[in-house]
Symmetry: C2
Subunit: 457 residues, 2 copies
């Protein structure tokens, strides 16, 4: 089996591959919003049909939430599992999109052609790079190069509630030699990257209740405690003046990065001024005694992802509201325990409340950080294959994101993961006008063909 | 002209009067929301027609915003102006209403019959107490007891942008010997009250912008400044631990209440535990060295009336938002200058921002506090007339609310105001399930008949 004809076929088939991706992108599979439940089913059906069309036996599997898609193809050599997710983020604020998020198109930009639309980069476009590499390989060689399991979920953007139970129930079916995950990015514009550390996450929602009903601030203002005032005090207390997070014992289990890794990171020439400048900022907001790269890769964080309370419409309403709310997430590193941190966070909040103000918490996600086994020689094989495709040599990098699946593969299936992806910093993940460079898609497909070749040669 | 037959007619006509009020309540005249512009016109038309039906020459007057309604009836004796507003507050959160806010009904409650619906107490029900008193007087006596000008506005709940220009343009037409304003409440359940101090108000909206677009907190969390974090710091800094407001020079012009007034207030037996307990609270939230009555009547306040930013929908979205917003109002007393306070507040906010975070402000209302001229003997006449109607003697009281109209009458028309109203603490002004006691409506109508009699005898 030979690589060059596969790469040539990928090149000649690019426009058809792009059209297939467009079909998937048009399905608004927003997992966090119950209104799109049917669309998540449709996206899963689409993937089953597409895998079947390549000769992969695939099925939609029922869960209490959105379905899984599982496919198998037999073969010799290593057994690979490929993971991706077909669900996408919500699209609000919709008025900031320049086009319908679910009517994707190829656009010309100053930096080249991009595919614009929700899910292009996170994660439908990335997922399809692997599927298209398999399609080309099959077309050229009549068979795939090894045994491959395909595993797609539809709840990645909403805390993956069904994932762990499903993996436990299907451990034997899903266990492979290594998992390939395509949900990360390049380093900068041209450096392919294998992510070797991933942050974990703890997310929680708090509701602070003051008076039992909304009040008129003319009648009660001054004497009745305003829950927004209390919430502000709580949120303001989460960071000290040096950017450190103040939840007790929060930094327990946070490791210092080994000097040799730190030296490799420094060699990458991360330009924090340019990184922040691209989004209109200039001053790193995290722990003031840490570098920008540490802030985004190796240090834990605390962000308020949403806040609301009182009157938020047009005009003015002098209400003193009964409730105020916030969604808060912590990115975790090293051995930080999300469950212990949730407990400490909740106690921290409760301790700050005036005696007659109440708080309730709603549990969202919890996942540990991960560290990959780069000593396995297949990592170096993959790194060299990626270096062949892209202008610069591939790097082992950290990631600020939380891809809990890698931790679950390790913990439940005792399976290591290799995270390879082709996103760029300006893709606008989770934001309006999300895009995926057409070159990320094209070279991404070629990259997977090269990796499949390298791992099975 | 005799009072008793008028009171008897009011009693026998109560059910028809209630039905008239219901008609007005069914018109959703929410002034702050442009979607209800046509309904504000409809409410004004309804009032014009109703005044005309009593023989009062009334007209709708165009303004750049919602129309004014002005009516005149000639007569001997003092010239009175009656002011009310036909616009109402928004109704959200709609899910907390037990019925359609604009489908009013009489409901039986443990405390007696109430009229339930938006605007029942603020201010349509109150406004109609005076109109119904006039209707009864006219019916019984064939004529009203004195010269009366009726002046209804439709922008009271949205900062009254057209009011001052309209009053300046029509000063001669509107000037009377005294203004009667029905937009306040009883003291407790049974004590009629004439409000002699009103708080002023300064309201502002702030938008804090961090990054130029919404970001993925996995990629940017930790390094990019989150505007919700900044907003929380700003709002948390507005009060110190003792409940004092920290905006520089904020307390300039705040007077101490005269000992004799304070003694009278103490005699009212305000039960702050019961007042707070009714809304599920126990601890006064204002300046800790002040009494509860001072907090709501004579001390200035700062309340956040609305806050929003990031993802506020179902589920979770790990966004690091570009913007965070808050609506903030200050209730003012004595000689506090709303314009100076706006300036100091904005500087206070700006000074707290990190260098690369921006803030923009949107101006809402500004009004000075008012102090009524109770030495005018008509105040004592009215107080005695009210005492005749209700179980307890009428009191001169303070008010936490801001009724800027009284200040405008004084400043523009050099006309004093007398504030008499029949609302109760549990009416739920600006809240879901707003109500007006049927007895407030009935005895309110009777009260105005008595006041008209007392002022013109």
């Amino acid at each position: 089996m030979s690589l060059d004809p596969v790469l040539a076929h990928i090149d000649s088939d690019l426009s058809a591959a792009t059209e297939r991706l467009m079909e998937l992108l048009r399905i608004p599979s927003i997992s966090t919003d119950p209104a799109y439940k049917g669309d998540c089913q449709t996206a899963a059906d689409w993937l089953v049909a597409d895998l079947n069309s390549i000769g992969i036996k695939a099925e939609k599997r029922v869960t209490p939430g959105h379905p899984m898609v599982v496919g198998h193809v037999e073969g010799e050599g290593p057994h690979l599992l490929f993971y991706g997710h077909y669900d996408v983020q919500p699209v609000d604020p919709l008025n900031l999109w320049d086009r319908d998020p679910f009517d994707p198109a190829i656009e010309d930009t100053a930096k080249g052609k991009v595919i614009r639309g929700r899910g292009t980069a996170d994660d439908k476009g990335q997922l399809m790079t692997f599927v298209e590499a398999c399609r080309a390989w099959k077309k050229v060689n009549g068979t795939l190069p090894c045994k491959i399991t395909f595993f797609f979920e539809g709840e990645e953007e909403s805390g993956s509630p069904s994932l762990v139970p499903f993996m436990k129930d299907h451990a034997e079916e899903l266990k492979a030699d290594i998992a390939l995950i395509c949900d990360t990015g390049l380093f900068g514009e041209e450096t392919p990257a294998i992510v070797t550390t991933l942050r974990g996450m703890m997310s929680d929602e708090i509701t602070i209740t003051g008076p039992t009903r909304d009040l008129h601030s003319g009648m009660y203002g001054g004497i009745a405690m305003n829950p927004i005032r209390v919430l502000s005090k709580v949120l303001a207390a989460l960071h000290d003046d040096e950017g450190r997070i103040t939840v007790p014992d929060f930094y327990e289990g946070v490791p210092e990065i080994a000097p040799e890794i730190m030296a490799q990171w420094e060699a990458l020439g991360f330009d924090e001024t340019a990184f922040l400048g691209e989004v209109g900022l200039s001053k790193p907001a995290g722990e003031q005694d840490r570098s920008g790269l540490e802030m985004i890769w190796s240090r834990p964080t605390c962000e308020v992802n949403g806040i609301w309370g009182g009157y938020t419409g047009t005009g003015f309403k002098t209400v003193l509201p009964s409730e105020a709310h916030a969604k808060i997430s912590f990115r975790l590193v090293g051995q930080q325990d999300p469950h212990k941190i949730r407990e400490n966070f909740r106690k921290f909040v409760s301790d700050l409340l005036p005696e007659d103000v109440k708080v309730t918490f709603k549990t969202h996600g919890a996942s540990f950080a991960s560290q990959m086994e780069t000593s396995d020689p297949i990592f170096e094989k993959a790194r060299l294959a990626l270096s062949d495709e892209w202008p610069r040599e591939a790097a082992y990098v950290g990631s600020g994101g939380s891809i809990p699946i890698a931790g679950h593969f390790k913990k439940i299936l005792d399976m290591d993961s290799m995270l390879i992806g082709f996103g760029k910093d300006d893709d606008g993940l989770h934001s309006p006008n999300e895009k995926y460079d057409l070159n990320s898609f094209h070279s991404g497909i070629r990259s997977w063909a090269r990796v499949l070749d390298a791992l099975t040669r």
